[in-house]
Symmetry: C2
Subunit: 336 residues, 2 copies
């Protein structure tokens, strides 16, 4: 099965490039709301499932013990831009458990937010683990280890208690198996598992509604999604798709990007979860796809919101002088 073209990139009216993809939207009972392409294909969700990976932080009591509010929980679910506010909050999260940057095992990279990289260079700074887009998630892992009295060293390994807890949560929420046969290593060194898009969508329908989850897990899930929706800057950052989409409809849309063209999302009021993959791994295509899918699902409920979302699904292509010379455009298979 060849997945369809879902997004086209036009230059002065001519199609220059195209992105294929697959989209699954299901409710918490697993009923299909929308299916495009092969939704059974296994996909590495990468960072798109950080909210599920953060469940042990809340369920264990570690988040409360550390005094975490919405911002800290949002950062635990984030792929942040390494902007100063992100870096400071990640450091504070670690400090609340008596840890610091040296305990992070996520690796180092310059801030994803380009202006923050320039500012860091201007101040003669160098990046550290706190600037890694995953530092909030890793801070959450570390705080959970400390709260449980588990030696945190080596917490990124598949057989460490930290990743066992994450894997148990991922399996219970998505209903998909997570084992050696579908496992790999993520960019931040923790395990990632390829599971069907439909299972990821089901997982986020359950996260949003609590249906199909034990009561304590359901409460933790709703608390995490609510935190992200309340503090979308701390889930991504300036100019980023997930932040802008959540800001477009406060409390109505949860959305999270994953590397290699993945987005997971949830619409609590509609009780559905969304998972999509741009098959070439490109975030440009994936961002237009998720905005268009959200517009399609919410269009009947709020035409004004749908219009704002569709505008985000149609970003302009600009010249280096800032002139509009093209357009990203969702294809008919996506807009319905």
């Amino acid at each position: 099965m060849t997945d369809p073209v879902l997004v086209e990139v036009l230059r002065c009216g001519h199609v220059e490039s195209a992105h294929r993809g697959a989209v699954a939207v299901v409710d918490a009972d697993g009923r299909t709301v929308l299916e495009i392409g092969d939704v059974g294909q296994p996909v590495f969700p990468r960072s798109a499932v950080k909210a599920i990976q953060a469940l042990p932080l809340v369920e264990s009591g570690a988040a409360d013990a550390c005094g975490f509010g919405d911002r800290e929980l949002a950062l635990a679910c984030a792929s942040h831009g390494g902007e100063p506010a992100h870096v400071e909050l990640a450091a504070a999260m670690l400090a609340s458990a008596g840890l610091d940057e040296a305990d992070l095992e996520c690796g180092v990279h310059w801030p994803s937010h380009f202006e923050s990289s320039l500012a860091l260079a201007r101040s003669r700074g160098e990046p550290g683990g706190l600037h890694n887009n995953c530092s909030g998630k890793h801070a959450g892992f570390l705080c959970t280890c400390r709260h449980l009295g588990v030696d945190h060293r080596g917490y990124v390994a598949a057989d460490h208690r930290s990743q066992q807890l994450v894997r148990e949560a991922m399996q219970a929420v998505t209903g998909a198996g997570h084992g050696e046969e579908n496992g790999a290593t993520d960019g931040c060194s923790i395990p990632t598992y390829a599971v069907p898009l439909k299972s990821l969508a089901l997982g986020f329908a359950r996260m949003a509604t609590g249906q199909g989850l034990a009561p304590a897990r359901a409460r933790a899930a709703k608390r995490l999604l609510a935190a992200c929706m309340a503090e979308p800057f701390f889930v991504a950052g300036t100019g980023r798709a997930d932040t802008r989409l959540m800001q477009a409809a406060p409390g109505k849309i949860f959305v999270k990007v994953g590397a290699e063209g993945v987005f997971c999302a949830a619409l609590p009021e509609l009780g559905c979860g969304i998972a999509l993959k741009c098959l070439d791994g490109g975030e440009r295509g994936a961002a237009a796809m998720v905005a268009a899918v959200l517009a399609r699902l919410l269009g009947g409920h709020d035409a004004d919101l749908a219009g704002r979302l569709m505008a985000m699904a149609h970003p302009p292509v600009l010249s280096r002088k800032g002139a509009t010379v093209g357009l990203v455009r969702p294809a008919a298979a996506l807009t319905g």
Copy 2:
């Protein structure tokens, strides 16, 4: 016709993303050497045809009048990284015609070479037109205007003498029509035209061999390709695919990237030209494609070189700690 998957991206042995593409390789008589996918589809070559766009600079006598050697000609054909040596040379090219950065109409962006952006920020600098990856090409346009006694202002417009000369060269070399019906605006504000991949491949076979071109044009074409092959750093820069591929076999491979997943190349000894497009516009896929195609074409002649090229077609996927967690891999449709 659905173009085939030509490159797969694996994470710990599982395919995570895939890039579709089309490849045309032809000789100077237009005979097919290799065809994969739809080679008749119109493609905006973008910066991949800068060597053809530089023909008027040489043919007009402007390059000699300005005293340009291999480095200057390579930079006129370049999408450079904005590294200090690129910026200094572009400034010198403009100065040789009595012009400066303010005359550039390509727009401004931070150096594509990330380390050079950081260095510029550390020195409290700001980017200007000279840092634009196209500044060498635009310097060439400006020097040509000055040499011909043409007012250079507005030289990026389709109806300016500068772009008329470029269009005439592009049409003559590729044999494809360039008009309003297939025209658009490139990122650096000059016109770009969507033409079949096969025509682009033919154009580079002619550039490399001189066949099918008037004698003066054939000499200019060979001089430009030779300059790029002699000074590959000035065609792209540190770590870049085109630079590394040309360095792998000095004088045997000409290769040039274009935005949105395009590569054009030529193999002078084999007398063939190459044009390919990664259909999603991704440079990751396109770079693996061009390395694999070059390895396939040169493999029978130099097994050692073919091995080095195939290694470049299989770059590792790294974690943020530098561990190898995956691999980019050309697909069977590409390796033959």
